[in-house]
């Protein structure tokens, strides 16, 4: 079954007196359990595509489907519900809520989902241990390094086992060892739980872990390569 389907997406931004085509009649299909890296030079459209898939940004033209459901015509509330239940997000920066501890940040989505307190507490501690943050559960973001914060964000994105995880430059602020650890965690989730990953990155290490690399340029797909995972 198809996890993500984009049909003829167009998105144009106005920058000064210039129109920038972030997506230019782009179509893409990603099957369930896919592990896709969207790669492009800066401004190539990968983040715009990721945002359109996640319902964070509406395309000017075209259709977006998640698990067969068209989402580009949903209301704000419906999109929020979709993101809450089906999609895990990892952003490049400003990932955490500053007034919550690491554990509370991880619990946040589950709490909004209505997961019982005991259940979400246990899951949060387990996932934090899994991303190597045991002992840091009660720290607030300001008391953690950039890498640690990013791992908390990843833990939050995957803790409720969403069918689809969208990650925008997840390794941008991480050292190579932490990046590898994170990508191995993604790979394990992909292989053992069938979670679909769509990662926007130009990091060669990330590309090395992906099963499929979609190269973009000026809002178009210029190359679509299937490869064996590292």
């Amino acid at each position: 079954m198809t996890a993500v389907r984009c049909v003829d997406l167009c998105k144009t931004y106005r920058q000064g007196d210039q129109d920038i085509k972030a997506l230019d009649h782009l179509s893409l299909e990603i099957g369930e359990g896919g592990f896709v890296c969207l790669s492009s030079p800066s401004g190539g459209g990968k983040t715009t595509l990721l945002n359109a898939i996640g319902g964070l940004d509406k395309p000017d033209q075209g259709e977006v489907y998640i698990a067969g459901q068209r989402i580009d015509n949903l209301s704000k509330g419906e999109l929020a519900e979709l993101r809450l239940r089906r999609i895990g997000f990892v952003f490049q920066a400003y990932n955490l809520i500053p007034v919550l501890t690491a554990r509370e940040n991880v619990e946040f989505v589950m709490q909004v989902q209505g997961v019982p307190a005991a259940d979400r507490g246990r899951k949060a501690l387990d996932i934090l241990a899994e991303v190597g943050l045991e002992g840091l559960e009660d720290r607030r973001p300001a008391e953690m390094s950039g890498g640690q914060q990013q791992r908390v964000a990843v833990a939050r994105a995957i803790v409720s086992r969403p069918a689809l995880v969208l990650a925008d430059e997840p390794t941008a602020n991480l050292d190579s060892k932490t990046s590898d650890g994170l990508m191995e965690l993604f790979t394990e989730l992909n292989e053992h739980h069938g979670t679909t990953f769509v990662i926007a990155s130009h990091d060669q290490r990330v590309m090395g872990y992906a099963k499929r690399i979609v190269r973009m340029l000026d809002g178009r797909i210029v190359d679509d390569i299937q490869q064996d995972a590292a």
Binding site: A80, L84, F89, Y94, L96, V99, V109, V112
Partner: protein
């Protein structure tokens, strides 16, 4: 419920993110609320005293007169019932206090001077707790019975007439046939009143003595009834109406002294206006605080929206934050008000400006009055208007597009 819990947690922690700003805002709300309640207590205290003094000078919450007496308060307009019939009618009715009396205009003359006064013929035993004079504070003595042959006048009037306890004066009025009715009295007592004008205006004599002087037999000019609460005299009014027939006029005190009655209504309205005006000043600070708090958290709000929070949740979070701020401020403001008003309930001496106070009928000692209704009014107004003032910044925060908010650059 679960959302309310997370929203409350976020709101509470965000509130203390900028301690200094929150503390300043709390200080402003607390002082504002304190000012609302404190000023209201002073105003209510002043109005209550004015009304109590006014009622004690009338006196009575409900009064019965001859239908023409209010237009022509002379002895010709007697109540068409004997005092004995009145006692038989009103006595068993169970009022907290009631009395019948003669009240007529008269001229008082001493060896040196004369003045126009209001002459009251009373039953001093029955009226002990009804009139404004404290019997125990009277220089000399107060009247002792309905047929007491002395008179009690105010200190101020005594000064004007250049008379004193033990000296004689003459009281002159009209009888029902419009003939002069006069009589010499010995001054047996001088009274003090909160309002100096009362000392100049009222002269007390025994009811029977005056009935004889005015040749009215067993008749009186008014019956007065006191209830428990001057703000609500409807029960007493209805009870008196049921006791008397159509040959008399029954009036509430608000109808008899329209100035005081209007004052009561105006002051209740003034309290509300005062509370709203202070809140409007406060609301600028409140809205500014919320706008700043939202502006500083645009990316965070975008993140929460991106993670699946609904716009309504963001709206709720900001509103809860505002309500928490207001509730804490109200708590501190109420406490401050209580702490400052309670020690002053014994009275604030304003005798230095007594004459000015008297010009509008107020006493020279102000007794602040902390009324539950006023405290509730201040709190409810602050909460409701605070909620409304917070809607705009909260609404703006909930309308952010997640991706624009996340990528916002400082």
């Amino acid at each position: 419920m679960r959302r309310l819990r997370i929203l409350s947690k976020l709101a509470w922690r965000n509130l203390w993110r900028n301690h200094r700003r929150t503390a300043i805002m709390l200080g402003a709300i607390s002082v504002g609320v304190w000012a609302m309640i404190f000023m209201t207590a002073l105003t209510q205290g002043m109005v209550t005293e004015m009304i109590r003094d006014g009622i004690s000078a009338l006196p009575g919450h409900v009064q019965v007169h001859h239908p023409d007496y209010r237009d022509d308060p002379s002895i010709t307009n007697l109540i068409p019932m004997t005092d004995t019939e009145i006692a038989a009618t009103f006595g068993p009715a169970g009022f907290s206090a009631w009395s019948s009396r003669i009240k007529v205009p008269a001229v008082i003359t001493s060896e040196r001077d004369s003045r126009g006064v209001t002459l009251l013929g009373i039953d001093p035993v029955r009226e002990r707790d009804m009139i404004f004079v404290d019997y125990d504070e009277v220089e000399g003595r107060f009247l002792e019975s309905v047929d007491d042959r002395g008179v009690v006048i105010g200190h101020k009037l005594a000064d004007t007439l250049d008379t004193e306890v033990g000296k004689r004066i003459v009281l002159m009025s009209q009888d029902p046939d419009n003939d002069i009715a006069d009589r010499g009295f010995r001054v047996v007592g001088l009274f003090h009143a909160n309002v100096e004008a009362f000392e100049e205006t009222y002269v007390f004599a025994g009811k029977k003595t005056l009935q004889n002087m005015l040749r009215v037999g067993d008749r009186v000019t008014e019956v007065v009834v006191l209830g428990e609460d001057y703000r609500n005299v409807e029960d007493e009014y209805a009870a008196v109406l049921a006791l008397v027939d159509g040959g008399v006029e029954v009036r509430r005190w608000t109808e008899l002294d329209t100035y005081l009655g209007t004052m009561l209504k105006v002051m209740d309205g003034f309290v509300l206006v005062w509370v709203i005006v202070i809140f409007l000043a406060l609301s600028f600070g409140l809205v500014n605080t919320l706008v700043m708090a939202v502006f500083e958290r645009v990316r965070e709000i975008g993140l929460m929206l991106a993670l699946g929070m609904k716009p309504g949740d963001i709206l709720g979070q900001i509103l809860i934050e505002s309500m928490l701020l207001l509730v804490i401020g109200l708590g501190i403001g109420n406490l401050l008000a209580w702490l400052t008003i309670k020690p002053l309930e014994g009275g604030i001496d304003l005798s230095i400006v007594a004459e000015g106070m008297e010009m509008f009928g107020a006493a020279s000692v102000l007794y602040p009055q902390l009324r539950l209704e006023d405290v509730v009014l201040a709190n409810v107004v602050v909460l409701i208007l605070g909620f409304l003032a917070s809607l705009s910044p909260a609404w703006r925060a909930s309308r952010y597009e997640p991706i624009e908010a996340i990528t916002k650059v400082d």
